[in-house]
């Protein structure tokens, strides 16, 4: 009788610990901000990771990337930067307008893409546009460029944020085949500024 009680207690402890661990771990991995734990801060605005698709990633980093951004390329081929805050450190919000200003990036091609931070997908829009790339983005003679981000349509390069106010979004820069000079200074490259214009 005594041993039966001990065994029953052990089974209950194992079951409770199993279900608690599973729930806590799944919740932690599927949280929409979870993927950013695999990224390091670069300049207060942009975050960088060389652990995408990498054998060197820890099991937690691998799981977070697989869930939040599966099938990314390893840093041999491309590098990724994500911003969830503007240059003042404020979270990017859907009702605000931002100006993203960049200089040429020494790479084969790059793109800037906007994602809804909660759905982790594109923001639906009538323009059928969630990104600008190094060919489609209008540039000055010096190669500098500006992409406007916000809810109000712009004549120039523009990415629409969510219709509903107070939604969070993120900006991702993909840099494909960076030059040797760019690789040598990663992740401290000339990343664009993200300035809040109005809110």
């Amino acid at each position: 009788m005594k041993y039966a009680a001990i065994l029953l207690g052990a089974v209950i402890i194992v079951a409770a610990s199993f279900f608690a661990a599973r729930a806590i771990t799944v919740n932690s991995l599927t949280n929409h901000n979870s993927i950013f734990d695999a990224f390091e801060d670069v300049d207060g605005t942009w975050m960088y990771s060389d652990k995408i698709g990498a054998a060197a990633a820890s099991s937690v980093e691998r799981a977070r990337v697989a869930i939040g951004g599966p099938l990314g390329l390893s840093s041999k081929e491309a590098v990724y930067f994500i911003a969830t805050r503007d240059d003042a450190g404020e979270p990017l919000r859907s009702q605000c307008s931002y100006r993203v200003t960049g200089v040429p990036i020494d790479t084969r091609w790059w793109s800037l893409t906007l994602y809804d931070s909660v759905t982790q997908h594109y923001v639906p829009n009538a323009e059928n546009r969630s990104s600008w790339n190094s060919i489609s983005t209008p540039r000055t003679e010096t190669g500098n460029w500006v992409i406007n981000v916000g809810p109000d349509p712009q004549d120039s390069a523009w990415l629409r944020t969510q219709e509903a106010p107070d939604q969070s979004f993120e900006l991702m820069i993909r840099v494909y085949n960076p030059s040797a000079a760019t690789r040598a200074v990663l992740p401290i490259i000339d990343l664009p500024t993200v300035e809040r214009v109005s809110c």
Partner: protein, 178 residues
Amino acid sequence: MLNRFLVYVLGAIVLATATFMLTRNLVISQAPVKVMSTIETRIAAGAGGWNACFHNQVYGPRANAARRANPDSIISSMAYDLSDGPVRISGETWPRYWSISFYQQNSDNFFVMNDQELPDRTFDFVLALDSHETGALGGTPIISPTAKGIMLIRRFAADSDDMPGIIANQEALTCAPA
């Protein structure tokens, strides 16, 4: 009596902690495998089976894309299963940017090559397990660490005007058992 009670409490704490940590590690290690399996099933359904090509032929953001997918890359994909032997992938590259990448079942990107790393515009890869004999098959062998996985071919589309050329490039792609 008190000593025996403390032994029970200590035993319970050790058992709970061990179970918690084992479960946590199991969930973390299996999460990428589960994600890969889900994507493989979707690709295979779209391609009509494993070891066959599936092409995205839509420019721009797509509602059914993976999380944080790249709208500037037009993808061809293949869910592969090498249990019955090697698989051949051959075709032509795309000049703006082209790359072929392979992902093993834990989601690691174990191989990637782009068009500038190839000697010419054509490619002929034979994806195999280390135990397969590929010498008589020709092509460039690529060894997959796992029997199942995913292949992606990315082509950079600057804008929608690139799509006719990319679709023609996709249609020239072959993915099939070698």
